[in-house]
Symmetry: C2
Subunit: 211 residues, 2 copies
DNA sequence: GTCTATAGATTGATAGAC
DNA sequence: GTCTATCAATCTATAGAC
């Protein structure tokens, strides 16, 4: 009632939350429109279909994340070139992984989206996974290319797999952050985004550079 | 027609394949029974429900994998104790991760199951994910405990997160192995299970031991 | 054990009034 | 733009004949 967001935004926010929690196929249009407080027909009026709504959930969030990520990666590459040095493996991986976790903390409501990303990477529905990959692929290849410059003595196919391992570590972490209850007692899971970022960047940097 | 497997086995094999390819909710009982060449009602007759069939798919495969994994981990721990040494981080992680990949190559039809595991780790349906976690948890904690003995100078919560990163790397890899088409040209993706195992064990060992 | 037929519930999408 | 009402398709599960 006092919700000043317009209908489109309310639907997007709610869809993001429910897709993250119950998956695309586990969320019906009735779930979304009821939770958002809008009419059942509003999704098809504003977005055209359930699929198109899913696409818009991703487009809205990925545009700013990808801009930051690409700018950081390009700057690292350019600065290394101007100083005739190799890019730093850690800085490359930091630029690739940190924006997502940072975004999770600073953007209101983004936590649900990040959980959704962690899930959609292994989404069974090829159509949905491709929507994610379309946003993700360009920066993946950019990161891969700069890593090859950073570590020219390691075979490219090894670096390729190691970057995939890093993405796996990351996506699993994003998923876990949305399901805090999996942690055992005695182990402190409540680390902030900065601490988690440091942990995972150290981990994958060591793995990437090992001989 | 010439299929000598009994109805139960045919249903299990087919369900495993289709759940891996299209997800639990993307696979109907009609899909399964049609592909298996059995009657629609056979699933409910032999297993009771679609959920119970899913459970049996996991039980059948996890019993032998978990036995091998537990035996290997316990032996590493015991041998280290008798020689008054710390367990080797690499051997622990190898014992934890290798059986799944090895099983994928040697057991007929297991590849589909492994893909399914990689997917179910981030399954949106809590009920389904819990079926997997029930099989996975005991060996996870056993591995974690031995890692704490192997690396007593690294804080336990750091080791806990690093083991989670390792599982993420592993599950993403298992998923990718079921979707070879994601690889770019020029990079050779066709590594066998042994090569992939070496790559991932080296990666996570370096990440686990870094200061 | 295997089959057909169907109950009973839920879904995405849309037509048409306001 | 928003609403109600409803269509057509899909699903799991089961009753009951053979």
């Amino acid at each position: 009632m006092n919700d000043v967001r317009d209908t489109k935004t309310r639907i997007l926010d709610t869809a993001e939350k429910l897709f993250a929690g119950n998956g695309f196929h586990g969320t019906s249009l009735r779930d979304i429109t009821k939770d958002a407080g809008v009419n059942l027909a509003a999704v098809n009026y504003h977005f055209g279909s359930k699929d198109a709504l899913f696409e818009e959930v991703f487009r809205r969030r990925f545009l700013p994340i990808n801009r930051i990520r690409r700018d950081k990666l390009e700057r690292i590459r350019e600065e290394a070139r101007q100083e005739n040095l190799r890019p730093s493996t850690r800085e490359v991986l930091q630029a690739f992984l940190a924006p997502v976790l940072h975004f999770r903390e600073t953007e209101p409501g983004a936590a649900a989206f990040i959980t959704l990303v962690g899930r959609t990477i292994s989404e069974p529905d090829d159509r949905l996974r491709e929507i994610l990959m379309g946003h993700f692929r360009p920066n993946f290849f950019l990161c891969f290319a700069i890593l090859c410059e950073a570590l020219p003595n390691i075979p490219k196919d090894v670096l390729f797999w190691r970057l995939q391992f890093s993405i796996g570590a990351m996506s699993h972490t994003l998923f876990l952050l949305g399901h805090a209850k999996v942690f055992p007692e005695g182990v402190i899971p409540d680390l902030d985004a900065g601490a988690i970022t440091d942990l995972i960047v150290s981990f994958v940097t060591a793995g990437m550079e090992t001989q």
